[in-house]
Amino acid sequence: MKWRGRPQPGRREDAARPEFEDVVLTHLDAAYGLARWLVRDPNLAEDVVQEAVLRGINYFASFRGEDGRAWLMRIVRNTAYTMLAARQQAGRIEAGDSDAVLDVPDPDDGPELALSRQDDAARLERALAALPIELRECLVLKEIEELSYKEIAHITGVPIGTVMSRLWRARRALMVAEGAADDEQ
């Protein structure tokens, strides 16, 4: 087809590619970690990262040299949401179908939980995994990735005030789960 034979823009992309590679490979752990916490399934998390890398290649033209980690994580986050939605939809299609091929692992039953770990840590992890996704992502980005409110707002596409109240709700829920919180409203 015609678009295959068009002249290649050439030099610019050759110069940009190593840069993109750097961004991705440098922040791959963070990207995978976020995907893991968002989708709660190691296999799907790998798919999310691979897909996000592909999207990143396409969107790299819009990368303005800002913080590469936040840029990549925004793509990972959006990809995770898309794939979760697709999986949910696929699940709906299969509902009532006797030989469903969709294999949805129980998020509370990951093998990592079976490892010998302190009960408290396991309970905390379960409580975090059980949070609504929009609260969970804020807390993971803050506590595990140690990003600023501004970066979290950029990645999740909400105002800073929303980030703050989501963080508060997430922490409140975890403190209740830990039994540490006072019984105030």
């Binding site: 791959l28 396409n58 595990i144 963080l167 830990e178 006072d182």
Partner: protein, 245 residues
């Protein structure tokens, strides 16, 4: 002591714990903490929670095989990159979601064969909206194929690819410029693959690439034109196309 003032204080207190406050605000928080044991205890709890989370939560590092797969993909990427770069940056960056894709569907004029990739990708994205994917849900090609009879003036080939890891989940009709299309919907893990089929005469024509993060593979055979579109990775989509052909 848990007054309204304290409730307003919470987000400030949290911001202080998160190191987000300017000196003046931090001083205000400190002054309040001196006089309010409840808020003071809350601060301790927030600090303790942060410490516990950072100490005990597993740090998920990317598995080595994922790192290698990504590295390999990055090396094999120039074709895709070129495909993306050929579009003006303004358009490319605007196409960041379903809404944007739908807008594209509405505004981009047809550009002959070149434009078809936009139409099929937009149709794929539109089909992912709730209730749009399937007119007939069936994993049985003997159900799906007769379903098209009487609805279309042609009979699309329907293959059962479940054994190859691409189970058929159903079908629908779709309208593309110039033709009604039969759409067979397959799945690979949680990825949906839309296979658009309509009669055409361009034997031997092929294309592949990606738009908006969706991959497509196009070919023509036996008087039909085929477009497979999915968010599945390019290699597996090519494998899918190979099985269909």
């Amino acid at each position: 002591m848990s007054s309204n003032h304290c409730q307003e204080m919470r987000l400030l207190l949290q911001a202080d714990v998160d190191g987000e406050l300017q000196a003046a605000e931090a001083a205000r928080v400190a002054a309040h903490l001196d006089s309010c044991p409840d808020c003071s205890r809350l601060q301790q709890q927030l600090l303790a929670l942060s410490a516990t989370l950072r100490d005990t939560l597993p740090k998920h590092s990317a598995p080595e095989h994922l790192r290698q797969a990504v590295r390999a993909r990055l090396r094999g990427a120039p074709g895709r990159q070129a495909a993306a770069r050929r579009w003006p940056v303004g358009i490319a960056s605007a196409l960041v979601g379903i809404a944007a894709s739908l807008a594209l569907f509405a505004v981009l004029p047809m550009r002959g064969a070149d434009g078809m990739q936009d139409w099929v990708v937009a149709a794929h994205v539109r089909a992912l909206q709730p209730q749009h994917l399937l007119d007939v849900a069936s994993t049985d090609r003997h159900t799906v194929k007769p379903w098209f009879a009487g609805r279309l003036s042609f009979s699309p080939p329907v293959r059962d690819l479940a054994a190859d890891g691409f189970p058929l989940i159903g079908a629908r009709l779709d309208s593309l410029p110039g033709s009604e299309a039969a759409v067979l919907v397959y799945r690979r893990r949680e990825h949906v693959i839309n296979l658009f089929i309509w009669p055409a005469t361009a034997e031997g024509e092929t294309a592949e690439g990606s738009r908006d993060g969706y991959n497509f593979v196009h070919w023509a055979a036996d008087g039909m034109t085929f477009w497979a579109v999915s968010d599945l990775n390019a290699q597996e989509l090519l494998e899918f196309a190979g099985r269909v052909r």
